[in-house]
Subunit: 377 residues, 2 copies
């Protein structure tokens, strides 16, 4: 099937972008906190939060009426502040976090009522992407395939054998739907070890899983209902009452009992197993900015060996050629003989670790949850 | 000559202890500052400054009338606060720092006028000593030898091949003066490299130079006058006018032009070359606490492998088995995967280095002198 520009346009016109804005990002503690989650942080030094950058990236694809943010009650005001253009009705709040199936599923159920043919694209609020035109093109291709009933993800061509991301194993090309870059998904694979990651890179056909999903809202919900019928029934009931007198009552009754389960398990993996999952292979720069080592790499990209510095008032004196200083104070940070160090200097907590051990910050945070340090999380 | 207890007592009764309290201790920046020099810091976690601990160590040897502190004008109030028992007339201030020959020499010139037979003992304000009885015994022996016209130092038996201290090469025993532990000094040697330090330890006869001098005030000045006659003439003129109407005028006229030179070069080395220098070999614990690695070692001594923590409100979360956190804030300091790290957390400066590179803090401070960072020193 040849590519028909009108078919692309028509699909894009029915695309609503959903931004699930949850997740504290505990590997980025003490910069990230319960009241300052990762998506509200500026991790690129651009001056914009990751959420704001996500909005700006999606705006050329969809007008404000077709961008929905799903977030926790606690972050309602911060999100509204970051996104003054956000339409009031499109700010969907959760009374408590219930993971991505419920968050994206609720948005899908709301969309389905607005338009039975609505296409939903879900894009994380806390990733970094460079190459907006390539991103937009990938979304357009994905929307076109979604319009035909597929569940579509966008995979990123690996630039190196990363061990910090999940991978998508791709099968045959689907040139019947879109001429370029569209493939069947064989399976989703977990974060590999270094050897496995090298194999993936050499073998080809493995893309980074950027956690994006594009599908008709009803297709997504029907797929989810196969493994979680109660969840989907509840979501549709909440959506039906949404904005009515009964809205709050229905949500308060149903939401607390919803299962916490990632959309990977209710939608992506079952769809891949059934052969209904497609993947757009994309070439834009993407990072989930999972820890301070990632932040350092993002900041120094293209500048060779250098210490990364993030922070407004940051003054740094250093002889280091690698590592990162994150400062939200006006203090001088002096480093002597420290390579690959991670220093995060906040008002009430100072963290010192190494790029190599940056992932283990999560363990520390978990230890603090069980101890007296909860107020600092 | 057998030991006569009365001779010891007589010498000790004429001993005046001089505490030169100068030197910022720039390797301990940012804890040490121009307005918070090393001698005013508590580096042992005892609650006392090093100066106060020095005073308390000397008090069993000499009453307040026979303890003099020489310090900079800027530190006059801090010193008086630390040492309320200090006799007003014994707080000698310098209008500008002129190194140890001038500082100790001025005290000697003042003492010589009080008592032509006065014995002066100079003890640094910023060293750490454990084993006060052994220290007192060593001082008594030194005073006895000083009474006989020698210039005497106290050397410490090395416990390990330290490369951070100077050494004293000892010659034959001087049992003719004191029965135990008194030797001629062959020469003073600079900080050795690791190989040389091991040789010294194996060879024996090499002691750590703790920078202590005990001598008759007049002997010390006469020795100094051989290489620096102008300096000694000026010091004696300042001393003669001290406390009179002309005191301030004379000091203001002469002090600024005095040469900056360490007493090692004007007294100790020439005396050793002339065969007039003796050394008491002592067994007390001594450390000049030259950098944060020394502070860490002092704090963890006897507790095996452990992270050292210094600071009142210090809260530390760490998986490290070595290194040091110095805190003068109430912030939480969290370390993940950092061994041998040095973290110094102050209100306006954060320093991160390693025990191995702790000496290089001085280089950083020197760089800052030439740049815009002077106000933080």
């Amino acid at each position: 099937m040849s590519e028909d520009p009108r078919a692309f346009e028509s699909a894009l016109e029915r695309l609503t972008c959903v931004i699930p804005a949850g997740g504290v990002g505990s590997r980025l503690w003490p910069l990230s906190r319960a009241n300052a989650p990762k998506f509200l942080l500026d991790l690129t030094g651009s001056g914009d939060s990751l959420l704001r950058a996500t909005w700006d990236r999606l705006r050329p694809i969809a007008p404000p009426e077709r961008i929905i943010v799903v977030t926790g009650n606690a972050h309602r005001e911060s999100v509204a502040e970051q996104l003054p253009e956000l339409v009031q009705a499109n700010l969907v709040t959760e009374s408590e976090p219930k993971d991505s199936s419920a968050a994206i599923g609720l948005a899908a159920a709301l969309l389905e009522l607005r338009d039975p043919d609505a296409i939903l694209g879900s894009f994380a609020a806390d990733h970094v992407i460079r190459g907006d035109v390539l991103f937009q093109r990938a979304v357009a291709t994905a929307a076109r395939a979604a319009d035909q009933g597929y569940i579509v993800t966008i995979g990123i061509h690996p630039s190196h054998p990363a061990t910090g991301f999940g991978y998508i194993a791709c099968g045959g090309s689907r040139g019947d739907i879109a001429q370029f870059d569209l493939y069947g998904v064989t399976e989703f694979v977990e974060k590999p070890d270094a050897e496995k990651a090298r194999e993936y890179l050499e073998h080809g056909g493995y893309l980074w899983n950027a956690g994006m999903f594009i599908a008709r809202a009803s297709v997504l919900l029907d797929r989810m209902a196969e493994s979680e019928p109660e969840l989907v029934r509840a979501l549709r009931e909440i959506a039906a009452a949404w904005g009515t007198d009964r809205g709050a009552e229905v949500r308060e009754r149903l939401w607390p009992s919803l299962p916490k389960i990632a959309i990977d398990y209710t939608v992506a993996e079952p769809a891949a197993a059934a052969g209904d999952m497609l993947c757009v292979a994309a070439h834009f720069d993407w990072d989930d900015v999972g820890d301070f080592a990632s932040v350092a790499n993002l900041l120094t990209r293209g500048r060779g060996s250098d210490l990364a510095v993030l922070g407004d008032g940051a003054q740094v004196l250093s002889d280091a050629s690698s590592g990162i200083v994150v400062s939200d104070s006006d203090r001088l940070v002096a480093l002597v003989g420290m390579e690959d160090v991670v220093v995060v200097d906040t008002a009430d907590v100072l963290l010192v670790t190494s790029k190599r051990r940056a992932q283990d910050v999560k363990n520390l945070v978990n230890r603090m949850k069980g101890s007296g340090g909860r107020h600092l999380l």
